[in-house]
C-alpha cells in the first residue's frame, strides 16, 4: 500500500534531483516528470495489483462463458473510451469564450489567466475529498468520467464535453468509482494508506473497467449495454452513482473539446437557456475553424 498524497518520491531523469510525489516539474532543473496523479498510478505495486485484479476478472468472465464479451468490452474501452466532463451552461459558455479574440495585447496585459493566487491552505482544501486523495495538488485536479460515448453523468450538469485524447491522455488517471464513495468505503484518511489496484493511467483504463465490471457481463451484451453499466445513476441519490472517475491534472481550454452534447433531462432557467445557446453557437464557430 502507498499513499496517493505522499506517494513515492522519484528521481529526475535529467538531473537526478529528488522530485516529491506532489510535483510535476523537477524543482532543480524544471524537467517534466509527468502529472503526479498519473505517476501515482504507475508505481510497480499499483500496476501489478491492477493486473492481478484484471486477470481475476477475466477468469471470472470466462467461468461465466463471457470471454467474448470480456474481450469486446475491453477492446472498446481501450480504443473508444474517453473522458467526459459535465458542467453547468454558464461555465460552458465561459469555457468557449476567448477574450483574446476581442482585444489587442490581452495576454500581454493580463497574462494567460487572471486567477489570483489563493492562500495555499484554503486552496488545497477546496474539495474535501480531493484534498484527502491528492493533498497538495488537489486544486489542480479536474473531475470527469470515463465514457464510451459523448455523454457523461446524467442529471448532473447541463452540458457534456468529451475531451480530445491528445489533450488528456498523458495527464489523466482513473479511479474505479466516485471518489466520495471510494474514500468512504475504504475509510481513507488524509495522508493515509491507499489501496492498490483501484487506479489506472490512460493505457490501463480497460483493465480498471473490466476489473470492476466483469461480473456484470452477460452473453449478447453490446456497446449500449456497456455504456449503461459504465455510467450508472438513478438520478436521485448521487452518492449511489457508479462510474469510473477521471482525474485530469490541471485545466484545459476550449481547444481540448472534441464534442459537446446538451443534457436532455434538465429543466433550464431562461438564463441557462441563453448560456446554452451561446455555448452552442461558440462551439459551432470553433468546430468550423478546426
Amino acid at each position: 500500500m502507498t499513499s496517493l498524497t505522499t506517494g513515492t518520491e522519484v528521481k529526475c531523469s535529467d538531473c537526478g534531483a529528488p522530485i516529491s510525489a506532489s510535483l510535476r516539474h523537477c524543482p532543480t532543473c524544471q524537467a517534466d516528470a509527468g502529472a503526479p496523479n498519473v505517476r501515482a498510478c504507475r508505481t510497480e505495486e499499483n500496476l501489478k495489483a491492477l493486473a492481478r485484479r484484471f486477470d481475476d476478472a477475466k477468469a471470472r468472465a470466462s467461468a461465466k462463458n463471457c470471454s467474448k464479451e470480456f474481450s469486446d468490452f475491453s477492446s472498446l474501452i481501450e480504443h473508444e473510451s474517453g473522458v467526459v466532463v459535465t458542467m453547468p451552461a454558464r461555465m460552458a459558455r465561459t469555457l468557449l469564450e476567448d477574450p483574446r479574440e476581442l482585444y489587442v495585447g490581452y495576454e500581454t496585459l493580463v497574462g494567460s489567466k487572471i486567477r489570483k493566487p489563493a492562500r495555499i491552505e484554503s486552496d488545497r482544501q477546496r474539495w474535501g475529498v480531493g484534498g484527502t486523495l491528492f493533498g497538495a495538488y488537489a486544486d489542480k485536479i479536474r473531475y470527469g468520467v470515463l465514457s464510451l460515448t459523448a455523454e457523461g453523468l446524467p442529471t448532473y450538469g447541463d452540458v457534456y464535453f468529451r475531451l480530445r485524447e491528445v489533450a488528456v491522455a498523458n495527464r489523466t488517471s482513473f479511479l474505479e468509482t466516485n471518489s466520495y464513495k471510494f474514500v468512504e468505503d475504504h475509510d481513507i484518511r488524509p495522508d493515509g494508506e491507499f489501496p492498490e489496484g483501484y487506479t489506472a493511467y490512460w493505457k490501463d483504463r480497460h483493465k480498471l473497467v473490466l476489473a470492476k465490471l466483469a461480473d456484470r457481463l452477460t452473453n449478447g451484451q453490446s456497446k449500449k449495454n456497456w455504456q449503461e453499466i459504465l455510467i450508472e445513476s438513478n438520478g436521485k441519490d448521487r452518492k449511489n452513482d457508479s462510474f469510473v472517475e477521471a482525474h485530469i491534472y490541471e485545466c484545459f481550454d476550449r481547444n481540448a473539446i472534441e464534442s459537446m452534447v446538451v443534457s436532455s433531462d434538465k429543466k433550464l432557467s431562461r438564463e441557462d437557456k441563453l448560456d446554452l445557446e451561446i455555448a452552442l453557437e461558440k462551439f459551432k464557430e470553433l468546430s468550423g475553424k478546426t
Partner: protein, 697 residues
C-alpha cells in the same frame, strides 16, 4: 472570514467549521449543492478567487456582485465579437436587465477596459442595434467603451513600455497589478485624469488594494513612473524612452526607399510626420515616439539636419495642438529644443503651448527667451496673446503697440482689432478692420494678406450682433477669393460653418465641416463642430463619436469638447454623464470670460433639470457683461426658466420685459419663452439645449 468563489461557475465555497469540507452555494439560485455533484460540475472552473469579508452575508454579496458583473461583461464581449442576430438581441436584453438591477454601468465599463479593442469601432454598430431595441444602458456602456479606446491605447502603450526593472521588487506580477487596477474599478478614473497630479491621486487610491506594504510602496512608485510618462509636460524631466512593445514596423517603406534625393527625403519626412500624427490621434504614443526617434535620427544624420528635424518636430507639434494632444505636443517641442535650444520658432511655439494649457507665467518666461533669440516681432505678439487669452485685452493692445513700427504692420493691426472685438468695443474694432481693408485695397505693401482676416473679423462682429446674413455673405466672399494660406482657409470654413449652424442651415454646415475633416483629419475643433451639428439634427449618438473624452491636459478651445459632449449626453437623458461634462468641468475649463458664460449657462441648465434652482441662479449670477446678443437672450431665458420653476412672478415679469426689449429675432429662444409661459419645461429644455449647441461658435 475567507471564502472561495468562481465567477464562471457562479458558486461560492464557505469553509465548514472544524472540517476540511466546504459548503457549496449557487450564487444565482442560492441553493446549496451536493458535494459530489459540485466536485464534478465546478472543478473545471479556472477562476477561483479568495474573497474576504466580515461575515458570510458580506461574502455572499461580494461574490454575487462579481458573478453578475462578469456575466454582463461576458455578454457584451460576446456581442461585440459577433453573434447571430436573434441571439445578439437576447444577449443584449439580458445585459440590459442586469445593468438595470444588479450592476453599475461604470463597473461594467471598467472591466471591459481591460485591454484596447482590436477594432476600436467594433461596438459602434452594436450600440446602435442596442438602442434600436431600447437597451439604452447597454448602448451607453458601448458608447463609453468606444470613447475610451484612444485613451486606453495610450495608457496601455505606456504601461507596456515600462521597463521590467520597475516591477522587479514587487511581489505581484505586472499582469496581476494590471488586473487589480482593472478590477478595482480604477481604469476609467485613470483615463479621465488630465494631469500628473490627478493621475497620481487616483492611482494612490488603487494602491490600497494591495495587502503587503512592499506591494503598496512598489505600486505607488510605479504610478509615479507611469504618470511622468503620461504627462511629461507637467515637469521639467525628460520623457524616458521605454522598452518598445510595438511590432517593428517600417514606417516609410523599405531600406531602399530611404536613400535618394533631397526631394525624396522631404516627401519621406512628410509621410513620417503624418504617420506620427496618426499614431498620436489613435493614442498609440509609444509607436509615435518610436517613429519620432526614427525621424530625428534620419534627419540629423546629415550635416545641418538639425534644422530640418526642428521644423519637422514643430510641424508635428502643430498637428498635436490641432488634436488637443498637448501632452504629445510638448514632447515634440522639448525634443526640438534639445536639438536647437535657442531656436526662436520652437521657443515661440513652446510659449504658445504653455499659453494654451493655461500656464501663463511659464509662457511669458519662454517667450521672453524667444524675444532674445530673434523673431522679436512674433515673440512680442505672442506675449501680447498671453494677456489677450487671459482677458486682459487692454494690456495686450499696449504690448502690441510696443512692436517697432507697429502702426504699419498689418498683422499687428489685425491683432489689435481682434482684441477690440473681444473686449466688446465693436465700433472701434469695426473701424480698425475697415481701415485694414482699405489699405489692402489701395495696394499698400504688406497689406495683401490681411484683407481676408479683417473681413473675417467683420463677419464675427456681424455674427455677435445677430446679423447672420451679413456674416454669411462675408465668409462666402472670403472663401471665393484665392487664399494663400491654407490654415487661414480652414478657419474661415469653420467660421462659415458656425454661422450656418446659427442660421439652422444644418445640412450645409454638416457638408462643409465634413469636407474640412476629410482634408484635415487631425483638426479636432472641426470634429467638435460636426458633433454639435449631429446633436442638433437628432443624431446625438453619432455626434458623441466626434466628441471623445479628453486625452490629456486641458487646453484653450478644448472646453468645446466637454461642453458639446455634455449637451449631447443631456439630450440623450444621460444626466449623470452630462453632469461630469457640464458641471464638474465648469471651474477647470481654460476659456475666455464670454466662453465661460456659455459654460455657466450649460451648468445652470443641468441644475434646472434637477430642479435645483438655487444652484442654477448662483451660476447664472456669475455671468458677466455679454456682447453677443443671442447669448444675452439665452441667459435671460435661463433666468426666466428658473423663475418659472420657482413661480416667482415678480422676477418672471421683470425678465419678460427685458426680453421684449431685445432687438433680435431668435425663433428657437422665442419658442422657449412660449414653452415657459405654458410651464412646458420639457420643450423649454430642448430649445435651450439647441441654443447652447448653436451658440458656442
Amino acid at each position: 472570514m475567507i471564502a472561495i468563489a468562481s465567477r464562471s461557475a457562479g458558486v461560492i465555497l464557505f469553509p465548514r467549521p472544524k472540517s476540511r469540507d466546504y459548503t457549496v452555494l449557487d450564487l444565482v439560485d442560492g441553493v446549496e449543492k451536493d458535494p459530489v455533484e459540485a466536485q464534478h460540475l465546478y472543478s473545471c472552473a479556472d477562476d477561483w478567487e479568495e474573497i474576504e469579508g466580515n461575515d458570510s452575508t458580506a461574502l455572499l454579496e461580494t461574490a454575487t456582485r462579481e458573478y453578475w458583473l462578469a456575466r454582463t461583461v461576458s455578454h457584451l464581449r460576446l456581442a461585440i465579437r459577433g453573434l447571430e442576430k436573434p441571439l445578439e438581441t437576447r444577449v443584449l436584453e439580458s445585459a440590459e436587465e442586469i445593468l438595470g438591477s444588479r450592476v453599475t454601468s461604470e463597473d461594467v465599463l471598467n472591466r471591459l477596459l481591460v485591454a484596447p479593442l482590436a477594432d476600436p469601432l467594433s461596438p459602434v454598430a452594436l450600440a446602435a442595434s442596442a438602442l434600436s431595441h431600447g437597451f439604452s444602458l447597454v448602448a451607453s456602456v458601448l458608447d463609453g467603451l468606444v470613447d475610451q479606446q484612444p485613451l486606453l491605447r495610450r495608457l496601455t502603450d505606456h504601461w507596456l513600455g515600462l521597463p521590467e526593472a520597475v516591477f522587479g521588487s514587487l511581489p505581484e506580477s505586472k499582469e496581476m497589478i494590471w488586473v487589480t487596477v482593472v478590477e478595482k474599478g480604477g481604469m476609467r478614473e485613470l483615463l479621465r485624469t488630465s494631469n500628473k497630479h490627478d493621475f497620481e491621486a487616483k492611482w494612490i487610491l488603487l494602491v490600497w488594494n494591495f495587502r503587503k506594504t512592499q506591494s503598496r510602496t512598489g505600486v505607488s512608485i510605479l504610478g509615479k513612473t507611469l504618470s511622468r510618462r503620461l504627462f511629461p509636460g507637467d515637469e521639467s524631466e525628460k520623457t524616458p524612452t521605454g522598452v518598445q512593445t510595438e511590432e517593428t514596423e517600417l514606417l516609410c517603406g523599405d531600406e531602399e526607399e530611404r536613400g535618394g534625393s533631397d526631394h525624396e527625403a522631404f516627401l519621406r519626412a512628410e509621410k513620417q510626420i503624418l504617420a506620427i500624427a496618426k499614431a498620436v490621434s489613435e493614442g498609440r504614443d509609444t509607436k509615435a515616439e518610436k517613429f519620432l526617434r526614427e525621424l530625428i535620427q534620419e534627419q540629423t544624420s546629415v550635416s545641418g539636419g538639425e534644422s530640418y528635424a526642428v521644423k519637422s518636430l514643430c510641424n508635428i507639434a502643430q498637428h498635436c495642438a490641432d488634436m488637443f494632444r498637448t501632452d504629445f505636443e510638448i514632447i515634440c517641442l522639448d525634443k526640438a529644443l534639445e536639438l536647437k535650444p535657442f531656436d526662436a520658432w520652437a521657443l515661440i511655439q513652446r510659449g504658445d503651448h504653455l499659453k494654451r494649457v493655461g500656464k501663463y507665467e511659464e509662457a511669458l518666461k519662454v517667450l521672453d527667451q524667444a524675444l532674445h533669440s530673434g523673431e522679436s516681432d512674433v515673440a512680442i505678439s505672442s506675449i501680447a496673446d498671453v494677456y489677450s487669452e487671459q482677458g486682459e485685452h487692454e494690456e495686450a493692445i499696449r504690448i502690441y503697440e510696443t512692436i517697432p513700427n507697429w502702426s504699419n504692420k498689418s498683422a499687428v493691426l489685425t491683432a489689435i482689432a481682434d482684441n477690440l472685438r473681444r473686449m466688446g468695443s465693436m465700433d472701434e474694432s469695426k473701424a480698425a478692420y475697415t481701415g485694414l481693408i482699405r489699405r489692402a485695397q489701395q495696394g499698400l505693401p504688406g497689406y495683401d494678406t490681411c484683407e481676408s482676416r479683417a473681413q473675417a473679423g467683420l463677419a464675427e462682429i456681424a455674427k455677435r450682433q445677430g446679423r447672420f446674413d451679413d456674416a454669411l455673405r462675408i465668409y462666402q466672399e472670403i472663401l471665393r477669393q484665392e487664399l494663400a494660406d491654407d490654415r487661414d482657409k480652414l478657419f474661415y470654413r469653420l467660421g462659415l460653418c458656425n454661422v450656418l449652424k446659427l442660421m439652422e442651415k444644418f445640412d450645409e454646415a454638416y457638408s462643409i465641416v465634413g469636407n474640412v475633416i476629410g482634408e484635415y483629419p487631425f483638426a479636432m475643433e472641426a470634429r467638435f463642430i460636426r458633433g454639435s451639428i449631429l446633436g442638433l439634427i437628432g443624431r446625438e449618438n453619432e455626434g458623441l463619436k466626434d466628441l471623445p473624452e479628453s486625452t490629456g491636459s486641458r487646453s484653450w478651445r478644448e472646453w468645446l469638447r466637454r461642453y458639446y459632449r455634455g449637451l449631447l449626453l443631456f439630450r440623450l437623458e444621460r444626466y449623470e454623464d452630462a453632469k461630469e461634462n457640464l458641471v464638474e468641468e465648469l471651474n477647470k475649463a481654460i476659456a475666455s470670460e464670454e466662453e465661460k458664460s456659455l459654460l455657466r449657462m450649460a451648468a445652470a441648465l443641468w441644475f434646472l433639470r434637477e430642479n435645483e434652482t438655487v444652484e442654477a441662479d448662483g451660476i447664472l449670477s456669475e455671468i458677466r457683461d455679454l456682447h453677443d446678443s443671442h447669448i444675452q437672450y439665452l441667459s435671460l431665458v435661463l433666468k426666466l426658466h428658473s423663475a418659472t420653476q420657482k413661480e416667482d412672478t415678480a422676477t418672471i415679469n421683470s425678465l419678460k420685459r427685458k426680453i421684449d426689449g431685445l432687438q433680435i429675432v431668435d425663433a428657437s429662444l422665442d419658442k422657449a419663452v412660449e414653452a415657459l409661459d405654458g410651464r412646458k419645461f420639457a420643450v423649454a429644455f430642448i430649445c435651450e439645449t439647441d441654443a447652447l449647441l448653436k451658440l458656442a461658435a
